[in-house]
Homo-oligomer: 340 residues x 2
DNA sequence: CTGTTAGCGCGTTCAA
DNA sequence: TTGAACGCGCTAACAG
């Protein structure tokens, strides 16, 4: 019922293999026949069957994207749609396709990834997270299956290709900004401690504080597990301290939204009473009031580069592991100002 | 290099076809051999090859999801990640996989969808948009390829399965809420006029106004093409009118964010000076201040149901076209209050 | 430059 | 209850 190379062959009076060669644009086929075959393909409405092609070939020309296990929570962070966009755009340019994980629990995702690998669904995989001691990562590594991590791997840093920002530097710079603005009491609010981003950014904060001879005590560090409630808890904790902070370094714009809203509820005004800076430069961070001063980690670029690195790797298995650092910038808006 | 049924067959001393039958759990295979085969599969680490399977069988057990053409813009709306989540969750339960469109322009997407269909990448397709006179929709229909639309189709309503809310009713109810609060000057801000959602919700607004004997003049209707700038323009327009509105019905939470931020810039306080209600109940709408009074369209359910309807259709091509309406609710928060 | 043959891994007859 | 043989649509030798 579907048009196959055989049909095209018959219609053109050539053999199927010739048609196949035309598809591959094999230089050893005369321009003449190429034209004829192509015409027939068009008029018959021929389209290659991927499954047949994948079966014989070694490439599926599709890559799998694995979302973090708490997909429900994660997808709510504009970071993911945005990085997906970046991946998509590169992948599309390269004529590749995109296979998305659908599982929610770690187990589900692991099984899915296994299928992707063993079932030859995809040529390679992008991990949109980096967890300590990740089963999936080990599996991929054991199988020597091409993969790329967005973020910093916990192990085997030298043999895994990953795409990341210099989060320590970024954390330092953004904290320094607050310091330059005259703030001395600066607290850090991070997401899950399990994540490298969180701790890297915190390290940056720490070293900036240290360098400026400022205190960064333990009760000035708060880790919010959940974006929404995290904002409330952080504010409750920090602003019931004897000396509450006047500046806040927050590891994720989304958490900032929560904090902002709590701050307002508590009657604090941003940036007049407290200044706030964060990370990611998500779409909404310029819409919200006050617009966020935040480090732009170039999410889209992160996506493009991870896709690029992965595809290179699937094409050339010998491609060495690389660490790809995406330079960040700071975008100054209205959430941070001179200390009063 | 990969374990195939042949290997399993050899290891068990049966024929490949027997192994195949075991995989399909064919009842005509003795429990004995089933056990043996399964054991061998496990110990050898057998995993079926999808491509081979798809090639022979008629089902790929994967469904394609087509994002709107302005994917860049669209993905920014939390609506999409959220509906993807819904689709994923159902699809995963059914052991299906998810193929995502990567194109950005209409042409790119059309070609991609064509490949999906002709190349037998997927069993069916979910369209995450509904545009008038959509080429892709016509194509799918001509090919009699299973597809489902999220939203209301412009044509062939009776032969296309779609999943939607009763947006007219929702628009009416939410407008009535504002009216009950004492508002009489109520404006409508919608997204692209091309979209049915926009006009349906506007119709609802209109009929509520009419029923209450209130005016809904043309200059009280504003259509914002782009989420961000749209907010600014809408506010500029509406609040430079001789009699500016005190109530706003906005067709999308994301637009509301923009409007909110402009309103603040203009010195209007919400809900004291102007009340605002909108649609979707996106994650952030309860985080932002003021928290939005908005109609919850059950995005996740929209996703689940569209996946469900599609899979049913791919399994049974004779499945009749259905219109699946997802009931909405209104969640009352802080963006609307009694008129002062 | 092109045709023939074989085989990718699997499901499905048809026999036994 | 099981095996043998065929074919899905395509690519990749090997001939010529």
């Amino acid at each position: 019922m579907n048009v196959t190379i055989k049909d095209v062959a018959k219609a053109t009076g050539v053999s199927p293999s010739t048609v196949s060669r035309v598809i591959a644009d094999n230089p050893r086929i005369s321009i003449e026949t190429k034209k004829r075959v192509r015409k027939a393909m068009k008029s018959l409405g021929y389209h290659p069957n991927v499954n047949a092609r994948n079966l014989v070939g070694k490439s599926t020309k599709t890559i799998g994207v694995i979302m973090p296990s708490s997909a429900d929570k994660a997808l709510q962070n504009p970071f993911f749609p945005e990085i997906l966009r970046g991946i998509s755009s590169y992948i599309h340019d390269m004529q590749y396709s995109l296979f998305l994980s659908t599982g929610e629990t770690e187990d589900e995702i692991f099984e899915e990834a296994q299928r992707m690998v063993y079932g030859s669904y995809v040529d390679g995989v992008i991990l949109l997270y980096s967890r300590a001691n990740d089963r999936l990562m080990h599996f991929l590594r054991d199988q020597e299956f091409p993969f790329v991590i967005v973020g910093k791997p916990y192990e085997y840093m030298n043999e895994i290709t990953y795409v990341d920002n210099d989060n320590v530097a970024a954390g330092k710079e953004i904290t320094e900004h607050l310091i330059q603005l005259g703030h001395e009491k600066i607290a850090y609010i991070g997401g899950s401690k399990e994540l490298f981003v969180t701790s890297d950014r915190e390290s940056g904060y720490e070293s900036a504080m240290l360098a400026a001879d400022l205190d960064a005590p333990a009760n000035y560090r708060f880790h919010a597990e959940f974006l929404k409630s995290g904002g409330r808890e952080a504010v409750e904790h920090l602003f019931s301290l004897d000396t509450p902070p006047t500046g806040l370094v927050i590891s994720d714009d989304l958490i900032s939204f929560g904090v902002l809203s709590m701050l307002e509820e508590f009657g604090f005004s941003v940036p007049d009473d407290v200044s706030l800076v964060s990370f990611n430069n998500v779409y909404l961070s310029e819409i919200i009031r006050p617009a966020l001063t935040t480090v732009d980690v170039k999410i889209h670029t992160l996506g493009v580069q991870s896709a690029k690195a992965l595809i290179e790797k699937t094409i050339n298995k010998a491609e060495p592991a690389k660490r790809i650092m995406i330079p960040h910038t700071i975008v100054f808006r209205d959430s941070a100002s001179e200390r009063n």
